[in-house]
Amino acid sequence: MKKGRTYGAKALIKTLEKLGVEVIFGYPGGANLPIYEALASSSIKHVLARHEQGASHMADGYARATGKVGVCLATSGPGATNLVTGIATAYMDSVPMLAITGQVPRSNIGTDAFQEVDTTGITIPITKHNLLVQEVKEIPSRIEEAFHIASTGRKGPVLIDIPKDVLFQEFNLPDIKEIVLEGYNPNSEGHPGQIKRAVKTLEHAKKPLIIAGGGIIASESFDVLRQFAEKANIPLTHTFMGKTALADNHPLNLGMCGYHGKVVSNQAIDQADVILALGARFSNRHTINLDTYPGHRKIIHVDIDPAEIGKNVETLLPIVGDLKQILTRLNDLIKPCKHPDWISHLKDIDSRALLPVVPENELTQIGTMRIMQEYLDNPLFVTDVGRHQMFAAHEIKLPSGRHFLSSGGLGTMGFSFPAAVGAAVGMPDRQIVVIAGDGSFVMNCQEIITATEEKLNIICFIMNDSKLGMIAQLQDEFYKSSFDISDLGSFVDFPKMAESMGAQGHRVVTSADLRELMQDKDLYKGVHIVDCVIGKGGEHAYPMVRGNSILDIVEEGGVK
């Protein structure tokens, strides 16, 4: 090859290197092999997933754990469609991701060629942006633009589809000019007048409340949120995605609100006179029913995405911008306040909450989570989707920060293990802990192979109740049918499965077993799959809303 000339795949990898990409999670196929050829001489590490869905969740987990853009790579056709669930998961939770897919050569596009699908067409509704690269000279600038779009404003996944012949084409590598996207100018500062009005409204509030959403984590506004909440003395509830916005044990943190929220949190939303919503999107998992959602007119809604404001609830004061910058301004401007009566009233409600009873010897989900925490040092938790996810949201006590990764918006079963692989690759010094159900774990258990191969430190606790727990609960609560579809049987030998894939397998049946295992120093090195045989299969995840409003919430067994 002549000096200064390169070919498409090489330009792609060079651009990724320039952007600081350290790792790509991928799977090869005919259409993306030129990229692998270029990766051979690159500083970028490649992690071979065992399924493209795994690769997309890995990129997602890497991004959620590190705050960087996660990159995944698949071939055309089925490779690209296998990424779809992972891309949609990242889209719903606003995770920065770059998905690169191979496409059939340009001359074959539109002919139903072997392994051809309209990848950009399929992914339009689940990406922040996507495109098919038509000319090799576009590759560097399109990749830079994609990176910029994925990681700024409201973050999200961007997909770039590149035909195989374009990957092979030679061209002169151009210098990239400054990125100019006329239609893309995210506002980060927030309107100063609106910020001042928000401060006034909050200073006059008798019963103010903060609702913290996933935006706090995405913008890493942890410290300024805590300073502001303390200075203004405002209690805080968080959405599921807002867990770890503020430390779980912080005195102002009431806990999670919404469908599986705490009674005190939902009551606080009902009784507050001013609500400051920070990076929360008032999803139906939080509001249940917009007609019955407490009809406050005094909602101050701060979000980077103007389309989120007023989408579901009416807003008194919209503030569009970056949470960190806006919270800093709010914190600078607000006078120190005190709301002792309001806070003690909420504490009083909370003190009457029914607490789940955990038997001493029997292994339960809650008990398992409590015990494991006693032995873990600065863990990063990744949960799957189901009943264990809700138990984890309530029971796992964490400081603020990127410590709890879970698929909130899409509720993707099979998310946890591959996402944990991505997190472990991004954060090699952290102890990564997976909490999965026996149903959800099986959905991407093949990624144990990747974790073993990469010599990661992951402990995966399978809450094995031989059931699809959340389905069992929904059937119990809302259906009278005798067709129990939740039974998974108890014949899968998870320890053997783990061992067959090069990991360590364990089974614990009692809490004493679990304690003994947790004391074993070897548990904290390598990949460990712990089959926790949950005795009482039918623990329902409470509290939960059983009616039509966030106030129709029931706790363990009893309506209050």
Partner: protein, 157 residues
């Protein structure tokens, strides 16, 4: 409530799907959609007419604005715009009614752009209501085929 939405965007493949997809995803039936390039190279302008709830359309406008290829979106009020639609109309022009037809054509903003035997093709331009009422005028003579573009609109001033 009828909305006339105007969108200035990059002229790139897929932009039509992205834009129309946002409407169909929310169950809107697009009444008319017209698109063409502008005098600015690489930019197109859409005019979309939909009927729907104001709040939902405000949300839709924001979602359209979020598309990376969309540069600007306007939801025009009827009174603030100039708008045009174009129709082609093939009518029977038999000798007994030709004179009458010709008179009619010359009294409104219409033109004969083709006459082949007993069939004349007329073009009509006007706002949406004009075009509808002109088409009605010719119904009596027997419309063989007709086609109309979607509305195009610009803000006054």
């Amino acid at each position: 409530m009828k909305h006339t939405i105007s969108i200035l965007c990059d002229d790139v493949p897929g932009v039509m799907t992205r834009i129309s997809g946002l409407f169909s995803r929310r169950g809107f039936n697009i009444e008319s959609l017209s698109v063409g390039v502008t005098d600015n190279p690489g930019k197109s302008r859409f005019t979309i007419v939909v009927n729907g709830d104001d709040t939902v359309l405000e949300q839709l406008r924001k979602q359209l604005q979020k598309l990376i290829n969309v540069i600007n979106v306007w939801d025009y009020k009827e009174e603030s715009i100039v708008s045009r639609e174009h129709a082609l109309l093939k009518v029977k022009a038999i000798s007994s009614n030709r004179a009458e037809l010709l008179q009619l054509v010359s009294s409104i903003p219409a033109r004969i752009i083709d006459s082949s035997g007993d069939l004349w093709t007329l073009e009509i331009t006007g706002d949406t209501e004009d075009v509808s009422s002109f088409i009605d005028l010719f119904r009596h003579y027997g419309i063989v085929e007709s086609i109309r573009t979607g509305k195009i609109a610009l803000k006054r001033g």
